[in-house]
Amino acid sequence: MEHGTLEREIHIDAAPDVVFDVVSSPEHVREWWPDEAEYPVEPGGAGRIGFGGSWVQFTVVDAIPPKLFSFRWTHAEGETAAPGNSFLVVFELEPAGTGTRLRMTESGFRERGWDEAKIAAEYADHESGWDHFLPRLPAYATKVGATP
C-alpha cells in the first residue's frame, strides 16, 4: 500500500465518454458527492463545491475527454491550488471491453496532514450514503433517459 496516495480501480459497464461526463460535469458530480458544484470543466477552471451550505474550493487541473479528469480541492479561498495546499484527485479512464476501467487516485495527505484528511473524509458522510441516494435513483434515471 502506498501510504501517501489513495488508489482505487473499478470497472464500469458504460462507455468512457459517459463515465467521463459523470466524473467531470458539475451536474453529475452533485449526484455522487457534494450538494452543490460550480466550476468550468476546463484546465485551470476554478470554482467550488458545497456541502450543506459550506463551500470548499475546487479547481480543475486537467480535462481530456474521455481519458483524464483531475482536480484539486480544499485549498483556501483566494489561494491558487497547488501541491501542499490541496488534495489532488485524478480520474483515468480506459476502454475495457464495452465498458470502462476507471482508476482514481487521491494524493496530498502527507503534505497536508491527517486532520485535513479526516475533515475531507467527513464530507463524504454528509448526505451521501446509499440510504440517501437509492430512493432518488429511479427519478434520476428517468431524468437522464429523457436527455439526449
Binding site: R8, V19, V22, E31, W33, R110, W114, K118, W130, Y140
Partner: protein, 110 residues
C-alpha cells in the same frame, strides 16, 4: 492527540524507506539498525536516523539488548495510522459505487 502529532505520524509513515523498515520489523519481529541495513539499499547510519523518526512518533519502540538497540513495531500505533487512511478510502469507495451506478444507468438508458 494534537494535529502536530498526527502530521508527524503521517510523514513518518509516508517515506518509502521507513515503510520498508516497518515491513521488515513486522516480518522479523524485531531488528537493529545493523540488521535492517542488510536488507536495505541505505547505510546503517541512515537506518538509525529513520528509526529515530519512527521512534519519535511511537511507531517503534527500542529495547537495550546487547550492543545495539533492538526495535519492535508498536502495532496499535501502526493500526491507528492505517485506520486514518482507511477512513478516507471508505469515503472514496462509496463515491465510486455511486459513479458506477450513475454511469451504468445512463448507459442503459441511451
Amino acid at each position: 492527540m494534537s494535529t502536530a502529532v498526527d502530521d508527524d505520524l503521517w510523514s513518518a509513515i509516508g517515506d518509502p524507506t521507513r515503510r520498508r523498515m516497518l515491513d521488515l520489523l513486522l516480518s522479523e519481529g524485531s531488528g537493529t539498525a545493523t540488521s535492517l541495513s542488510e536488507h536495505l539499499p541505505v547505510t546503517r547510519q541512515a537506518v538509525a536516523k529513520h528509526l529515530a523518526v519512527l521512534d519519535r512518533v511511537g511507531l517503534v519502540h527500542a529495547q537495550n539488548a546487547g550492543r545495539e538497540k533492538q526495535f519492535r513495531v508498536d502495532e496499535a500505533q501502526l493500526a491507528r495510522a492505517v485506520a486514518q487512511l482507511a477512513d478516507v478510502g471508505n469515503a472514496w469507495d462509496a463515491r465510486l459505487s455511486r459513479i458506477k451506478r450513475i454511469a451504468e444507468t445512463i448507459e442503459r438508458n441511451k
